[in-house]
């Protein structure tokens, strides 16, 4: 299953792109995605630990299942205001 992950701020700067493509097994969860991102992009690992993920523009937890066609985003700690 191909998953596209939107990345922002320092994460975008670290990988030099605003989206990453990953290939995950069917039935993969947000937790699986977090592990795969850390493995494929080691530079992201420290920031990943404190980041959340959003699926279809809503915060998701580690057990949230991913299905093709969803919009997935890595949300590093926010600093608006």
């Amino acid at each position: 299953m191909k998953v596209t992950v939107l990345v922002f701020a320092m994460a975008r700067q670290l990988v030099g792109r605003d989206r990453l493509e990953l290939d995950l097994g069917d039935g993969a969860t947000v937790g699986d995605l977090r592990a795969a991102l850390g493995a494929s992009h080691a530079a992201l690992a420290p920031l990943l630990r404190g980041s959340l993920f959003a699926v279809d523009q809503a915060y998701a937890d580690e057990r949230t299942p991913l299905v093709p066609g969803q919009e997935v985003a890595m949300i590093p700690p926010v600093s608006g205001g």
Partner: protein
């Protein structure tokens, strides 16, 4: 009313948007860009967001505030893009029949915005370099992020 804008925030317009004959209290909070962070001087800041989600989270904040306090009007405006020092990066205005609801809702809205809405700022330092701000992380002497403190909570 929520808005994400690249244009300067007009505080009078935000305030005017929440005034009402039903309101006995009108409160305006402005967050402004500060020159000094941890003793280091900032020359300017840049803000970016995840637009679709930032909009939906801001709308959710307004809905939650309206559910918790009897607000007449509520406005949240966040600036994006390049800001000089002293400019307003965020404006929150609420009106209510009595002052306690306005103070409490205003405080809750800015605290929750800073905790939840996917918006990020980058500090452009006066002595060179720039860093995205991710609470819990800090800048190493020669670039690159490191964990400043372990993540808290389960």
């Amino acid at each position: 009313m929520i808005e994400l804008t690249h244009d300067p925030i007009d505080p009078a317009a935000v305030l005017g948007g929440v005034e009402s004959p039903e309101a006995g209290a009108v409160l305006l909070f402005l967050g402004t860009t500060r020159e000094t962070t941890d003793g280091r001087r900032t020359s300017s800041l840049d803000y970016e967001c995840y637009p679709e989600m930032a909009r939906s989270e801001l709308a959710e904040l307004e809905a939650e505030a309206r559910a918790r306090w009897p607000l007449v009007h509520c406005a949240i405006v966040h600036r994006l893009g390049h800001l000089e020092i002293g400019e307003a990066s965020v404006a929150i205005a609420v009106s209510s029949a009595h002052r306690v609801a306005a103070f409490e809702a205003g405080q809750w809205l800015i605290d929750t915005l800073k905790d939840r809405v996917p918006i990020w700022k980058r500090e452009n330092w006066s002595d060179g370099g720039a860093d995205w701000v991710h609470p819990g992380f800090t800048r190493k002497a020669e670039g690159g992020p490191r964990v400043d403190r372990p993540p808290t909570g389960p």
